[in-house]
Amino acid sequence: MSATDLTALLALGSIALFVVGLKRLSRVRTSRSGNALMASGMLLAVVITLIEIGVVDYRWILGGLVVGAGIGYAIVARAKATAMPEIVARFNGFGGAASALVALSLFWGVVIEPGRDAVAADLLGATSAVTLVLSVLIGSVTLSGSILAELKLRGTISGDPRIPARTALMLLAVVGGLALGGFAVFGVEDLGLAAGLVVGLVAAALLAGVVLVLPIGGADMPVVISLLNSLSGLAAAATGFALSNELLIIAGTVVGAAGLILTQIMCVAMNRSLINVLIGGFTETSADHGEYGHVVSADAESASMVLEVAQRVIIVPGYGLAAARAQNAAHDVARALIDRGVDVRFAIHPVAGRMPGHMNVVLAEAEVPYELLFEMSEINQDFGQTDVAIVVGANDVVNPAARNDPSSPIAGMPILDVDSARRVFVIKRSLSPGYAGIKNELFERDHTVMLFGDAKQMLDELAGHLQAAPPR
């Protein structure tokens, strides 16, 4: 068996590790080992490639690997749990950029640097030429789109500005970019012109990424990042075609396809269609933006008196909890209640926070025991037997309009039925609307009490009063 046969067989092993790993990653019990399997598949792929390259100058290889690994490790080690979604977005942008840069490096190495005027497609081969252009296009869209997604998740860029004639602009950037790239590899012999056209392709693709993501609201970013992730897989697959590397094609395509399915699953969980998300924001409807009438508010002290005599309490965290970094305070309240013998649980809405699973990560950071966290389907029927539901920084995911008002923009979205609890406390800065921009009639209900203030401060005060309260 020759060395090429051996590496080809090893590549099969690498693919197997990726596939089994990804499958295991999608199951709760096996997720961590799945991730480890995928990482070892990647390590094997790198080793195979190093064997295939043979003996070469290792300076850049070693330097690149060490620097990249160091930076990657440092970014994650310094990250707070609340920032993880942003980091995923950033890494995704890097992956897309890497694919585009590989294609550009190939173009420069094979076409520009030999210095003889010739049509690029003749030097590269037609397949390589076409897929190289696709790789640059998709990779660059992924890069600018992901950077923008990270900035939106962080709140550096807020709002969802409308771009006039967005579809036309998008089409122009993509088709224009493809035309520039196609001309660069098939149409011109002049090297300077070809290089300029490829730079134009990069610029058009970066613009397309911005036009794609800018008008989409922050709450839809998880779906967008998942879609961009699928794109970066396709960029890798295109790079694989350009380099005729089957392992790259397979792994890239599997990520591209699986990412698309995951995007679809996430859309379903949020009761949105992918098209709606991409169009941006909720469509205008005759929804009630109206003023609030009868709203009862109270302070932490009187709220704690109600909690002191409660038997069963459910805490409902939302994005406001993560934004105020109130997870430790929420845990303190839960502990104070548990010490008094109260049955305390946390109800996690599938899309609470900025990403599915975001609340789990945030609460886990505060070491809230996993046994106290319940998903919507596990806990929703229990609100009827609950004395107090404490809603912390959540809005749309507890809005009864989703259930009662068919004309509401969020009609049909699954919500947590906090309104069936005997008493509802809502900790919120103000009566400002949530992402959907609509009024929440829960705040007007007779059994709802608003606790206005910063989530962390309010929860700290509640915990303080509860700890100081006389034992029952």
């Binding site: 990653l25 790198v46 490639t49 990249g68 792994a251 990520v255 990412g259 699973g357 975001h358």
Partner: protein, 93 residues
């Protein structure tokens, strides 16, 4: 069957594999799964490796080195952050 056709076969079959691989995912795992898949898209690292094999720093090599660094950040950081997320989910549950 020519090499291009083989590549196209591989591409189409891999797409089917990817589509069938993921079905019902509990919401808790949406973010980690996306993160893990994202790390896997750093596979482009092996493309970058093949392009930086000479010492002479031409434009092509410099582009390749940037690609290698970014892909390595994507891979190492991506798998690490996924593990960090999963480790907070209370061990084996």
């Amino acid at each position: 069957m020519g090499p291009l056709l083989v590549s196209i076969y591989v591409f189409v079959l891999a797409a089917f594999l990817g589509f069938e691989l993921i079905n019902k995912v509990p919401p808790t795992l949406h973010t980690p799964l996306m993160s893990g898949a994202n790390a896997m898209s750093g596979i482009t690292i092996i493309g970058a490796l093949t392009l930086v094999t000479v010492a002479d720093p031409s434009v092509s090599v410099i582009l390749g080195v940037f690609a290698l660094i970014l892909a390595t950040i994507n891979v190492v950081g991506g798998f690490f952050v996924t593990d960090k997320m999963l480790s907070t989910f209370g061990g084996n549950r």
